[in-house]
């Protein structure tokens, strides 16, 4: 990151988040709380530097992240690669537990 200069508020907050003394705090917050699990709360800050203006709860946003290929590293890309991921789960808020992870070896 030393070759990159933060140009806006969000980028500046990301730089703060990767400050070495804050690493443990960030790791602790990388639990699955939404469709951006692996990037919370670094990149996934709202424009005000908080979390309150992110989609809530994650179940409401789950297919919106997958169907639009919005976060393909965090949820399966149902637009091209995994179109059947949501089969049998018409309502994510009721049945999100049935939505499995993707395992390339098929197991």
């Amino acid at each position: 990151m030393k070759h990159l200069k933060s140009m806006n508020k969000k980028a500046h907050l990301i730089n703060q988040a990767i400050n070495p003394e804050q690493v443990e705090e960030v790791v602790a917050m990388q639990t699955v709380v939404g469709c951006t699990a692996t990037t919370d709360p670094g990149w996934e800050l709202d424009p005000f530097g908080g979390l309150g203006s992110l989609c809530q709860p994650m179940e409401s946003d789950l297919y919106g992240c997958a169907d639009a290929c919005w976060w393909p590293a965090q949820v399966p890309d149902t637009m091209s690669t995994y179109p059947d991921w949501g089969n049998g789960v018409a309502k994510a808020d009721e049945d999100w537990r049935k939505l499995d992870g993707i395992f390339e070896d098929g197991e």
């Binding site: 969000k10 203006s53 992240c65 639009a68 949501g86 018409a90 309502k91």
Partner: protein, 370 residues
């Protein structure tokens, strides 16, 4: 879904784009139907007098965005299906499929990112196609294009004309002037006969001088039929000096609002940027009154730059629409419930529970005047 914010700091010279007034004409009340799509693949036709689901049409193919556009007579709804590739046209009075265009072929995969619209005379359907050539050893990304279909061709329709367009185009809308508004990095319009493209509202290329932040524009859902307009909201900031301090800048919601009868736009900073709004709609009775949805339902008066009412919502709703008489707001997208609100107070007055999640689907109004 999250906002992809593009804060570019250009050195910009000159003054703003022209401000042109758009008028919003109320739509006379007739039989109105609220349309939306849910997983795994149903088009719901909701009677807006009773707020009951009148019928649900099975959509062939896998779920594919739920983008909807409606014919001018209100009788046919065109839906983007099959992982954002196929367009099906439904007679909403019977669920009969009257149109189908498979945009992809064996050698080319074509996706449309919400971009569907019908000509104002109801004879042509327009999509923006994003094609990829599927070669044996690689994919080749091809240039996006506007595809023109003749609706009378029915099932198995093929494009009758294509024209090159920019990348990043999402929602589009046809005008009375024979153009299609293209919402992308900028808002442009394409002549559907010649392919000539003109700038309607410069956003990524706006030129307001160094104290204005280039706008972060976003539009994914189509609505605006009740005010005969197309809205591309954006966020910008005005800095007090060339220190460009984000903490002291004035932050604004802006609107690039196109009058679909003339194809002309107004570009205004209308509302202080205090919370996220995913979509705005205009009250068909008063073009100064806007409503917005996301984690809140809000009401705004852009003539005074005031936010009048803010209601917290129980979950995120991407989308909203309004009855033709302006009295009732419908808030939807994301989950499986449409929340119904009085437009004067924004108090919740009802709900419509659907069989699946709306996810990215549009929430459109079809008006049949027979």
């Amino acid at each position: 879904m999250k906002l992809n914010r593009l804060f570019k700091q250009h050195s910009i010279k000159g003054l703003a784009a022209a401000l042109l007034c758009a008028s919003a004409l109320p739509v006379s009340a007739a039989q109105e139907y609220l349309l939306t799509v849910t997983r795994p693949g149903h088009l719901h036709v909701i009677d807006m007098k009773t707020n009951e689901v009148e019928r649900s049409c099975d959509i062939p193919g896998k779920f594919g965005s739920g983008a909807i556009t409606v014919s001018p007579d209100g009788k046919t709804a065109f839906v983007l299906s099959n992982i954002w590739e196929d367009v099906y046209g439904f007679d909403i009075r019977s669920c009969q499929i009257v149109f189908h265009a498979a945009q992809s072929s064996a050698s080319e995969r074509v996706k449309s990112f919400q971009s569907l619209t019908v000509s104002r005379d109801g004879t042509e359907l327009y999509t923006v196609q994003n094609p990829t050539r599927l070669l044996s050893d690689r994919y080749e990304i091809l240039e996006p294009r506007l595809a023109v279909y003749r609706i009378a061709d029915g099932l198995g329709a093929q494009p009758v004309r294509t024209f090159p367009v920019d990348r990043r185009i999402t929602k589009i809308a046809a005008t009375d002037t024979g153009e299609v508004i293209l919402g992308g990095g900028d808002v442009k319009a394409i002549n559907t006969q010649t392919g000539d493209v003109r700038m309607v509202a410069a956003l990524q290329n706006w030129d307001r001088g160094p104290l204005w932040l280039p706008p972060d524009a976003f539009a994914m859902h189509s609505q605006g039929e009740q005010a005969n307009e197309y809205i591309m909201p954006y966020v910008t900031a005005r800095f007090s000096d060339e220190e460009w301090d984000f903490e002291t800048a004035e932050w604004w919601w802006g609107l690039s609002r196109v009058d679909l009868s003339t194809g002309e736009a107004e570009l205004i900073e209308a509302i202080p940027f205090e919370f996220i709004v995913f979509n705005f709609i205009t009250d068909p009775r008063d073009s100064n009154i806007l409503y917005g949805s996301f984690n809140t339902l809000s009401k705004h008066d852009i003539s005074t730059q005031e936010t009048l009412i803010v209601k917290e919502m129980p979950h995120t709703y991407y989308n909203l629409n309004i009855s033709g008489d302006g009295s009732t707001i419908y808030v939807g997208g994301t989950s499986s419930d449409i929340s119904i609100h009085d437009s004067e107070t924004l108090e919740k007055i009802g709900a419509i529970h659907l069989s699946g999640d709306m996810t990215t689907s549009d929430l459109r109004v079809a008006t049949i005047r027979e």
